[in-house]
Symmetry: C5
Subunit: 378 residues, 5 copies
């Protein structure tokens, strides 16, 4: 894509993105509702369970599984990944909650998909929330709840479609570290995939910023400021999404939970580094974006200066000349008195006046040239 | 509500909201007053007590109760909620203070309703202050004092009308966790209801911001900046109200008071998450609002550029032309000398001059078009 | 006071307040002077001692006391308050220093009245500095040194006149907590009175800000920015004065000094809350004040836009019309050729031209109206 | 180089430097890739190993060495430095990984050259990442991975060409502390060389800032703001590169690893001081750069004021005069009535009008002079 | 000095001060140089040693002493102060290093005079760096290295001339605390003298700020912004110099080194208070200075508004009038048709037109007066 169309894409993206300001605030249960009440968002996708069970040498996958399948699978495989997509089926979620003895508050958080990334330790399980971003037609983030227990990982996703396909591929391929590791490694791999999903989105944002950097100087039209504002909105949203992940991973690491093996801890630390890097990039982008506004404002001021210069040069040259012309357009009657505009009858009156006008205009031009208003600076 | 009327609402809201700047400062006791002196604000609502006592299978409610009722209730029920609305009756408050052995400083804080949210530990009771917001005709916050003791919760509210009705409903309904839990769970439920009361107010603010976002670009008239200033006022007020809650809940959690059971601690931690989320939203809104000012200022600059362009184009085209017309309006006498404006008598003098003027105007237009002042950019 | 005169007061206040910028820096002893050297400021008020001694049932007060009186008093009363006003009499201060075994550095700090609020622990005594503000003819802060020892409190004030009268009244009144408590409670009462003295000053500042908020939008004349700058100066000064108090009280609390009884500690914690509240208000005011500047700047820009609109509308309408008039004011000789301004002799030439001018003006007006420059927006 | 050409260099530098915004984001492995996967960047330089082994009295150097050489060398020398330049040969890196038992995540980090500076402790070795800057044709940073083990240091560089020549010289020279110290001292020397490499780059930036400081006031043309923006970009990049080094060294110091002797610790602390100093300088530069924008914007405003003054002076003087001339250019027929422009026939009409015009112009000039628009201020 | 000349001084100071931006970066040893290499700056002053030895009752002073004198002195006196001015004689410094067993890194830091203030603990000695400021012809800071050992203090100064004369006087005067205390008290006295040297410099800066505060409102010419920029430069430099001192003293206090007696610790804490006060003042000044820029920018805007108002008033009044005059200057031939400008022959045509013009001008003036553009506001 060339730079110009990138700029236009950025603008369109910007306009698309200005709506969901109150998103993180609105769709909550009514104030005062008892905790642990699980209400399906009417707009939620219907739920479906996909199971993947594996040991080092075995591997099984079941789509549209039922809760009963889970129990069965767990007897056979060392690690079972219960992947629930769609949060529309509250009964199913409650049933899973009962089966795995999940705290009602956790179930509530799973369904209220506006949590910040966090880790909560419930002794025999870890509840982790991460937020996956994707930029389909607009920047959006999706809550992924991960419950890590002894020998199983449960994930709850808002919609079908995720960034976990490479993880699935690794589960399917025999001989990978995944197949020989425990549930903690699977949980790590999922978190890592989510963190990694931020990078292409940030890259796209970087492109938008670069396109804007050109526009701001070369085409500082009023739309630029709207686009810039939209960009800053998005960066704010990114920042809100990214920041808690650092704390989330850190909490998981510090918890010294027996659920996470030290060898997996090393991998999580790597993940932590990536989260820090994300924050670093987002902050840098934010600084650049706020610098861009300064550039834009001074571009505007420069334009104004240019406009005013043109006006001033033209007006300053011609207004005095017009005055002179006006003087000799007066109708004082030379016949009435020798003092009344005798110039009008002088043989060289006209050329002399024209010459004087030309000299005046020239003097002005020299003056402007000296001040650098014309010719020298752009 | 459509976007435009939202904007107007926002403006009206803004104007209403500019008064209470010194509110948190003014209505205090005179400097140097001994501590623990309890002076009723003359404007305070008269006090009335509502009692709710319950055990798992019993439930009783008394409106306009007397202090004597309290003692009686406490003998019967495991948990008693003493809800005092209106702080006008200082004697009553003092009597309650004596009955429950409340420290004079706490009584003072209950009546001086400008406390920040906080938790104070008095061994056998916890004193907690929270601030409830509502946006009746303007954004206002009300101090709720909560005293949690063994088997009782006392709440002091400034006015009748609160966000506790869902909590009351849960008390009334048998079989809820509320009925089987202790006073600490009731206290949690109240705090949670208060925290939740911020979300709809923030949602309304989000709407105001979105309305402003449109106005700022499309109708950048001088009122916008007033509205924006009022909005930033409100956000500051929200921030002052919200921030201390995090610390308040955290203190309650850390205190490891035997008054709060570990199971309730988990719920309080959930509450803490909500407080953090509130802060997060308020900070985001503040950033957006301050970004809006930048957008507004550049909208103004853009407008100015537009205005100046029109002036400059018109002036630059017509001032030189007027000069030429002025020249040929001079009254030099062609009869006096062949040098004096012979053009006036040339057969094609007039059309030539008109043509030259037209050509000049055209050249100017081309120049402006080339600079992008007309036609190309908006 | 009505809003307008408040504004003028604010302005005058502002102008008065711009001087003492280097005050906290200047009047120090020469660099390299040995520590503990006590030099009276030549401008210092002469010193005088007022004694108040009390036990639960006794009470005595002596004005213009001598050091000998102190010793005598201390044998009789449980608590003695030695109140020194005026720091001009260095000998007296040295004598007190010797009598109570005060560290030379403390004596130096007492006389060099530019200390920040702080607490220093000298085992058998606590040295506390607080700063009292008053707004007589201008905002000023006065250093109060408080030395708390076993059975006595010494205070050093710069000038006569303080905010301690309510404390004195409580000492005089029998049966107050003051009379039954120790020296630590007296010290607390003094600190509390000082902290409380900030609230009315802040209230006055709040009024100034509100007056400015009106001015900034309605009368954005150049003085506003001066007043605003002065206000920000004052807020900076307030902040410098207020902030260290929090740390000061905290240090006193943490020191776990046996000089401060736990029961008094609870009162000090209340004091701490007030200090935090002060900081909170000052910070809020600072944010509002810096927001006001933005409002002012956009008011200016708006004014400029208004001015330019008027100019542009007038110029854009009349300059082209003047040009047309100029054309028909040219003196081409219709007699010389049929091409030379035949319009001048057309029967309806004049009305047609006038009509065309009117139509042009109207078209312009419609154009401006469409752009919202006239009629629609203010 | 004189100031002006410095400015031009700065500009060119600026333009060159605006591209690699997304560099730290882009070239990553696909999201979800298993950790420890080592993919050579297709653009990576081919790898080559240089070995330096030494004891106090022996010294050996081998270019283009093979892994087998390493084993041989390690039997002979106390310390071996394995310097790998170019990361194109993934097999070689894997082989080294196996030979020294390097964690797969470390190998991945070595090849993904967008790590922030960090220290990771793997018990028997320390993995340290530093970033070396150079400004060949544009500011660029290169990742240097340092693995410190018992008796060896492995370095991985992206490209040939580094800042380690002085370190090599010290290794070659007998009797230096280098020759008598262990591998930890060598690692320190490398880190120190990298930290030192920032100083000349920062010095160049300081020169660019100084050149800009002149331009901003004297030649505030639109390019200045672009150059300034580019400079701020670079400073952001520097800051991102510099900051993590402090933490990196600190971690190495705190780790209390037996790999780093206490005597070397003292040197590392010195290195830490340098890193802090770098941060200090970068922050100062950033503040100056953001101050420069303010200066630039007010230069623009000043220019505008100058331009407007010229226009206003000229227009204000001549427009009224032109009006007067216009009045006497009206064609009212004096013959039709004595009221119709009798001045035209007055004997001194013309001189009187001219005189009045002159007086008016003079009055205007005096007025402008009084306001300080002409003559007095520049 | 009156306010105006102060302003000019400030300006000159500003211009002088813009150079040494890269000073803290440039004059370093080449990157990669081994640590502990001591290279004299070619511009360094030649070294000379002054010795002062004292016990409570003895006192001796030697100028231009040799290293041998030191050993001799130390046998006689309890405390010896070895004051080295000028760092040009590297051999001498090395000799001292050997004599007192000073770590090579310390020697390097002594000579590389761009250290930040810091304290380093080498068991039997403390190495402290402080920075002394003076404002001879421009603001400059000088590194003073202080080595405190058992019974001696060594100071290294860049140039002759310091702020230590009062300390020397105290050493010379018998009976001072200095004479009875140990080397730690001497070190404290030196640090205190350095800290104190900042106050007069800050006072001068305060004066510059006050002068600027006047200029910014009353004479907002373009130089003001340059002066302001220079001032902010200086404040940044001051801040960089001041901040580390707090940490430096704190480290010395925390080190619990047996070299510093508890009684001296109390004095050092006093010193710490002063350092905090310095930071406080610098930060306040920085805030004021950045507020000044806002004031300046709005002064500029105000000026512009004033200028534009004048232009607009004049143009708006006279352009329409000129148009009217232009209309009656048209040459339509009244003889050709009764429709052609019959007004020209009306008996009262001229006075009516003049009257209409006057009425129009008046209407305009009333309009401007109503909008507050003339008469009412300044």
């Amino acid at each position: 894509m060339d730079r110009k169309s990138l700029g236009q894409t950025a603008r369109r993206a910007g306009n698309r993105l200005r709506r969901p300001l109150t998103k993180g605030v609105r769709r909550r249960t009514a104030p005062g509702t008892p905790p642990g009440v699980i209400l399906a968002d009417p707009a939620a996708t219907p739920s479906s369970i996909t199971l993947m069970g594996f040991t080092a040498d075995q591997y099984e996958e079941r789509k549209n599984a039922t809760p009963d399948d889970i129990a069965e699978m767990r007897t056979v495989h060392r690690v079972v990944w219960i992947d629930v997509t769609g949060l529309g089926d509250v009964d199913l979620i409650r049933k899973l909650g009962a089966m795995f003895d999940i705290h009602p508050l956790v179930l509530e958080d799973i369904v209220n998909v506006h949590q910040r990334a966090k880790t909560e330790d419930y002794d025999d399980k870890l509840y982790m929330v991460v937020r996956m971003v994707h930029e389909r037609d607009h920047l959006d983030s999706e809550q992924i709840s991960i419950i890590l227990g002894e020998g199983y990982v449960i994930t709850f996703q808002e919609h079908a479609g995720d960034c976990f396909d490479p993880v699935r591929a690794r589960v399917r391929r025999e001989g990978t570290r995944m197949r020989t590791s425990g549930a903690d490694y699977l949980a790590y791999a999922l978190i890592d995939a989510v963190i990694d999903s931020y990078f292409p989105v940030l890259e796209a944002m970087g492109d938008r910023i670069e396109a804007l950097e050109d526009d701001v100087v070369r085409r500082p039209d009023p739309q630029v400021v709207e686009t810039l504002h939209a960009l800053r909105h998005d960066l704010l949203a990114m920042r809100r999404a990214v920041w808690p992940h650092r704390e989330m991973i850190n909490t998981a690491l510090r918890q010294e939970s027996r659920l996470i093996a030290p060898t997996t801890g090393i991998y999580l630390r790597d993940c932590y580094d990536h989260a820090v890097q994300l924050m670093d990039i987002v902050e840098t982008y934010r600084e650049i974006a706020s610098g861009l506004l300064d550039v834009y404002l001074s571009s505007l001021s420069n334009r104004m200066n240019e406009i005013m210069k043109v006006l001033t040069i033209i007006a300053t040259i011609f207004i005095p000349l017009s005055f002179v012309a006006g003087v000799y357009g007066m109708n004082f009657d030379p016949a009435a008195s020798p003092w009344n505009m005798p110039e009008l009858r002088w043989p060289y009156g006209y050329p002399v006046v024209l010459g004087a006008m030309g000299a005046g205009a020239l003097a002005m031009l020299v003056y402007f040239w000296r001040r650098g208003w014309i010719g020298r600076s752009r």
